[in-house]
Subunit: 255 residues, 6 copies
Amino acid sequence: MNPVMMDRMSWIAYRDRIAEDSPVVFLPCGALEQHGPHLPLGTDALLATAVSAGVAARIDGIVAPALSYGYKSQPKCGGGQHFPGTTSLDASSLIQITRDVIRELARHGVRKLVVVVGHYENQWFVTEGIDLALRELGPACPLRVMRLEYWDFLTEQTLARVFPDGFPGFALEHAAVIETSLMLHHHPELVRMDLLPDDGPAHFPPYDTYPPRPQWVPPSGVLSSARGADAAKGATMSQELTERLVAAIRGEFAD
Amino acid sequence: MNPVMMDRMSWIAYRDRIAEDSPVVFLPCGALEQHGPHLPLGTDALLATAVSAGVAARIDGIVAPALSYGYKSQPKCGGGQHFPGTTSLDASSLIQITRDVIRELARHGVRKLVVVVGHYENQWFVTEGIDLALRELGPACPLRVMRLEYWDFLTEQTLARVFPDGFPGFALEHAAVIETSLMLHHHPELVRMDLLPDDGPAHFPPYDTYPPRPQWVPPSGVLSSARGADAAKGATMSQELTERLVAAIRGEFAD
Amino acid sequence: MNPVMMDRMSWIAYRDRIAEDSPVVFLPCGALEQHGPHLPLGTDALLATAVSAGVAARIDGIVAPALSYGYKSQPKCGGGQHFPGTTSLDASSLIQITRDVIRELARHGVRKLVVVVGHYENQWFVTEGIDLALRELGPACPLRVMRLEYWDFLTEQTLARVFPDGFPGFALEHAAVIETSLMLHHHPELVRMDLLPDDGPAHFPPYDTYPPRPQWVPPSGVLSSARGADAAKGATMSQELTERLVAAIRGEFAD
Amino acid sequence: MNPVMMDRMSWIAYRDRIAEDSPVVFLPCGALEQHGPHLPLGTDALLATAVSAGVAARIDGIVAPALSYGYKSQPKCGGGQHFPGTTSLDASSLIQITRDVIRELARHGVRKLVVVVGHYENQWFVTEGIDLALRELGPACPLRVMRLEYWDFLTEQTLARVFPDGFPGFALEHAAVIETSLMLHHHPELVRMDLLPDDGPAHFPPYDTYPPRPQWVPPSGVLSSARGADAAKGATMSQELTERLVAAIRGEFAD
Amino acid sequence: MNPVMMDRMSWIAYRDRIAEDSPVVFLPCGALEQHGPHLPLGTDALLATAVSAGVAARIDGIVAPALSYGYKSQPKCGGGQHFPGTTSLDASSLIQITRDVIRELARHGVRKLVVVVGHYENQWFVTEGIDLALRELGPACPLRVMRLEYWDFLTEQTLARVFPDGFPGFALEHAAVIETSLMLHHHPELVRMDLLPDDGPAHFPPYDTYPPRPQWVPPSGVLSSARGADAAKGATMSQELTERLVAAIRGEFAD
Amino acid sequence: MNPVMMDRMSWIAYRDRIAEDSPVVFLPCGALEQHGPHLPLGTDALLATAVSAGVAARIDGIVAPALSYGYKSQPKCGGGQHFPGTTSLDASSLIQITRDVIRELARHGVRKLVVVVGHYENQWFVTEGIDLALRELGPACPLRVMRLEYWDFLTEQTLARVFPDGFPGFALEHAAVIETSLMLHHHPELVRMDLLPDDGPAHFPPYDTYPPRPQWVPPSGVLSSARGADAAKGATMSQELTERLVAAIRGEFAD
């Protein structure tokens, strides 16, 4: 079947792997969210899965099925909930499924879990789900969890190469150069560079409003231009992410 | 990108499809659950998605990402929760994500939704999720929902051909002839016919126990033998499911 | 007071029984749901209680008060929620009261519990309630639970006698021959045979719709005719249910 | 069938009553709670139902099935949770079932509901359930609800007759003169006057402790002696409750 | 910083106090609720905090920040929810924050907690929060909790002095003599005696209605006149509350 | 009483203000969380309230009572949950109280609400609470909400003055120069500059672990040194926050 993807593995293969090697299990946390006209709605789940699979292949890890739906899109990081196609969960739903999946992995005997967030808005609710799971499992449970947003593993050097005119910061990197380059590397057939919008970078005030003001967000849903994205940059970043994640995970789970 | 799979479609393509054609949207509801040594843990999500995609391709529908995790496995229909790899949600989690996704699809303007259950244990919790969503959306919301377990669309004639010695009933059809044949048709690379167990059919009393008795369930997790499964049967069943689902959906959403 | 019905027993009598004999406790799970013009709304709770009391009388068991309200009626098994009088709970409510009652019985020292479902729609939510209770109580708790739908204990032979023209299956047995006969046996004063409707059997497609289509369901709420019901059949079935339940419970709780 | 008890009435009879007369519907809220050695565990539900039925018979009302389980017993009003047999719900469970039942009654067209509390501890959670139901139903819903603890309808004159040595107040009236007399009137077969304990009145400090101190509560569970209870007092109080409830309900629902 | 108020203490000071002296911690539970034209909306939190601080100063206790928002105001005890300014929580919210705060105090090593209710409507939901926290913490947790409504510590003698014409009972003491006198003692700058309304005492029937009838409640929100309130009475009552609370707490936590 | 603080205002004064001026209402969201040896546990609530009150005084606004307890402290922004004194809420509790308070303010007629977050970890749960409230209130509700973390209103120029050696970023600004300076300005009596720790700045990897590693966090709980903090910087920052918040709020609520 498949040595990495848990849903393409039999229970016996999975059981044996867990019992023998205590492998690192990855839980990618994505979303179904607009990513401009040139990227697919599933970009966050696809990239979180691709990053997880790349690392898992290197360290004999296992990737659980991604959480395909994430927390509600916010204007400043994902464009907001007014875009058709963006399909989001309430906080309590995301918290609970995270908790439930971790409870079950612990029952299987998993001791090393890496929760890979690919959708910025998920971070805090996933954190609560992890916390509730560990509280319920109790202090005797040997499960240890890392949670990370994968883009935080890009070095300044790499960002400098990807953004020769200066890295504008992660804040507007929605459907922009980083995600588009990574998609061109991992899923080129799902990128339509011919549809790249020219929306300039969004400018946001230092607060949020509810109901949100759609006029704050470029109509394309892209928060800053993806011009400059290419597959080579995606490969460079993907390789760095893999290397640095491998090192961090090995270090964290060494003892 | 992809004309059928919502997560591989841009939000603009999706928006236009919804606005122009009012297409049928499919929500496959799967599970991560043991399916014997010969089928992968993700079988239920894979088959619910395959069935949905087959129908959607015929009627210009759209398939939302599957719910990859389902309700707790029960001994009589899925072997039970004692198998490593089976990774299940609490009832309230499954209810809520179903409700949330439907609430969002309604916001997009979706009017025709088909919830395709591929994991028997999901049925009632998905039903509650649909009910809560519709109650919240209110009677003025034009969304109409069909919910179905796909195997209920197989005719007696087809079952007679698939089971030349007599159809033993759906009760024990977990990781058995139907699912194995369908997987051989849709995902042959994920089936290990060489690992097919010979466990005889399980015999269950007319009640359930909690905690469950693992000894009721064959050690392989297969409730009745998959001997007799082949890709041709899978193709036959797949074709019938598509035809009959197309007809039912067209009939239901015609008015 | 009363040696069987827990609510008609003093706490001291109950305490002594639990401490001395470790009796089997029964929790009937009913509903308040239309049962046609000839049966009362409380039929499911009345029958679940009657079956429980009959068995309890034989094995010195105790019957806790029935859950009088159940999960939402579905068109195919109970006619659906559009009937006045049908008074149903949300899933989470039914799950929680089941969990709470079981948690309390465990606190009392009950070790043997039989949850007797008399309303088909309750089954999965009661199951979740049992699971949540046992998870909370932890593996050291000695409580063991059986859950059953009482009609599953009728043998084919008896069904053949009750349905001389052939048993049409449990699917349409709502307010039909089995329930009407059992009510004629247990509560004849609550049956109005003079009001028996002649609605032919309902025909349902292999899917459900939401909102439901009331036209699928006979206007009387009876899914197949109760013609042929009589008290003698009720007595026969009641006796068989008692005998077979006694045997199953004794077997299950013997070790 | 039965003209008063909803669960012993067909849905058609119920529907016609609601449509024609807009009758008052009663929802008795009881408990399963120790009531000393001389009264049954179900006393609160039995009395709330008996009071409701008495009033309903006078004003052509309908009595819905009692909530048989109530909120956790407190030392000062019900003896506390340490008594075997006392079987209580978490707050959220009681709140939700109250909300659900009221939502359903409103759907049936009920416009006049009287929630009759027979278990002191239920009061606030039932209040929240009513509030949540009305909030969900919205201001256009014509349903109006009265909530009452039945003993508050006893006049000082009657209490003076029932307690010739002076009424000690409702605080300790658990399984004492009022409840015992009412049970002797309504359910004499369920009272064991021969087992009446002689525990003196309980004395409580002006605070509560958690975990509770069982030594605060007389071992019998009776907070003050039921000596002096008799059926005649029960009949007197029952008659007064009926008269005064009839008057209050007629007054409240007149406009 | 401050030796009594936890929020004005550093974590190190707090930690050392908990470790060295096992001090009594107080959790005042207030509300934001109308208190007539002469008292501020925060009266309940202010008085619960003042009472707690007075006692804590005597026994080297620590006062946690008050719960500033409480359960929904009821007509008979707080005037009801129709007053602007009254800002209340749903039951589940109040239950959960109570549970959460107690869970955290237990983690800090607190063994003696006094929950001081200053808003009548909070009592039962705070009780449930305490119960849920203790259930979660388990029987091995050394935390013991007292819960009290502070006015219950006033003696009959003091009430006779405060109400020379006879104490009408706590029922109507909302924004009346007791609260006004205590505010004149603790927070005179927040009392406007010149705005004291002359509304006579409210008269309520022995039931509640939903939706509530605002006409039951004096338009000022004061349930009985605060005429007769003065700072001296406030000082007298405050002193008695402190003395008697000190004694009760010392007694309860002595062993 | 008090013209700004809602809890020190009568309901009549509040009602009149809301009706006449449609004032901006502020909801400060704090925490009870370790802030090193030199700042009190309540720092976040105190500062969020001080900022709110400063702005409210300028624009005739009203400040509701702060949420005194916040979401669980995280190592990278607040030191983590292992510090005694840190007293945090579960996500669902914080979400619900935020939702409830906003629902109530909307009922009062409030149209302009500013939610002032003073505890970084609160942000996403407060966001969900706002979203749930607005969803429940419906699109016809005129309430508009701003949510902000107050420090985001500091300009680069001011930060350059406050940090002459270069602003290290907000990431480690927990109990450091900004908060300490602001406390010296607003609450000097609650700052112990003599206890200022010399812990160097914390260094965190680009991921989080659960259970957290306390060794990542300086033992004092201060993430970077507060050396350099003084009251003058606090006054400068406070003035800028007020000015810029006034401008933003006026602009946002002008139309």
